[in-house]
Amino acid sequence: MRRRAGVGAIQKQQLEREKYREKGSEIQENQFLQMQKQLEVFRENLEEFASKHTNEIKKNAQFRRQFQEMCAAIGVDPLASGKGFWSVLGIGDFYYELGVQIVEVCLATNYKNGGLITLEELRTRLIAARGKAKKHQDITNEDLLAAVKKLKIFGNGFTVVSIGKGKWLVQSIPGELNLDQTLVLQKASSLGTAWISISMLAGDLGWNETRAENALNHMVKEGLAWVDNQDPKETLFWFPSMFSDCVEAAAVS
């Protein structure tokens, strides 16, 4: 005689499943709590570490970067808000100071580059401006990027544009570059010529003429590019921010 599955068996199965689930979430919760505890401890240690080594963080670029990475990994932003424990450390101050100096360099070079500057030029000028008194404070590109990102709170006046191969441009005029314009800058940077033409954009990026023309004309209107009508073949568009003689020229403030 064939026995039919009883109600009891089903209930038993359900009960077991529930128990497993309970146990599972219990374990999960435990783990979570433990993790939280660990993080809390880690955070405490990190804060202690930071307060102990504030000077070191300010002076040593590599140390600073590693500290930043460590903070980022556990979701702590030592630059965030002036409130609370972190403000005491003065790590934010380091970047605020850098931010002010970045603004100064950008304003001083604006007359020649139209408000677009390579990160390298910015760094060279900034280090020169900081003077010998602080020569132990070597500044890395990461520091500059972190500081520029903080400048964003003043509106869209300061933005960082990646132009590939670890190269960056800092834009210090309002108005966002659209994707096409960023691509134009990337192309010009990778060619290392400081200029670009419509036919090059058409050939290398597969753009049609209108698209290339729009992007370039817009950049001329923003004062980022200069027009050169004397090439025998076609109009060239030059970027002073990438032109080496311009980069090396002394700034007038």
Binding site: V220, W226, Q230, C246, E248, A249
Partner: protein, 175 residues
């Protein structure tokens, strides 16, 4: 040949094309005007002839194969005229006087030299001012006679001197 420190723009090819964007053009014109004055100063020149502008290294950089067109030169000179740094000598606007200093500044410079040398209330010939041994080393030594006359006229308006003519010579009495 004048030896001057060329600015970075001189090697920047689009510098030789008048820029369409007004803000960029302003920067460009300002840079040109500074360069022109610097160049003329270093070679003691006061005149630009637009028709011959293509032959001077000032407006032509063979290293990058770029030249400033006559129209462009005219655009720059007209901009300089707006702030009193240049003036055409005739209506065809082909020959231009370029003032390293404004006429007022030239006038003041001469007047302070006059005061420093106790020449108030005495008469000098323009020749003395331009070529005399006493003005050697002064910036206005060798100044173009037409520009000198204009500068003195600006002084005359202020009542600091009076231009006079005797025989074939021009003179000036300072007060």
């Amino acid at each position: 040949m004048a030896e001057i420190a060329w600015p970075w723009q001189y090697n920047f090819p689009p510098f030789f094309t008048i820029q369409p964007h007004s803000e960029t053009r302003q920067k460009q014109l300002a840079a040109w005007e500074e360069l022109i004055v610097q160049y003329l100063k270093s070679s003691k020149q006061y005149i630009i002839d637009v028709r011959e502008s293509q032959n001077t290294p000032l407006f032509s950089n063979p290293a990058i194969n770029r030249k400033l067109s006559q129209d462009a030169v005219l655009t720059i000179l007209e901009d300089m005229a707006r702030c009193g740094r240049a003036a055409p000598t005739d209506k065809t606007k082909t020959v231009w006087e370029v003032y390293w200093h404004s006429l007022d500044e030239w006038g003041n410079m001469i007047y302070s030299w006059v005061s420093a040398n106790g020449l108030n209330n005495s008469v000098c010939t323009l020749f003395e001012l331009r070529e005399g041994e006493t003005t050697e080393g002064e910036e206005f030594h060798g100044l173009d006679v037409n520009i000198l006359t204009k500068a003195l006229k600006s002084l005359e308006v202020k009542g600091k001197c009076e231009l006079m003519e005797f025989d074939d010579n021009q003179g000036v009495k300072f007060f």
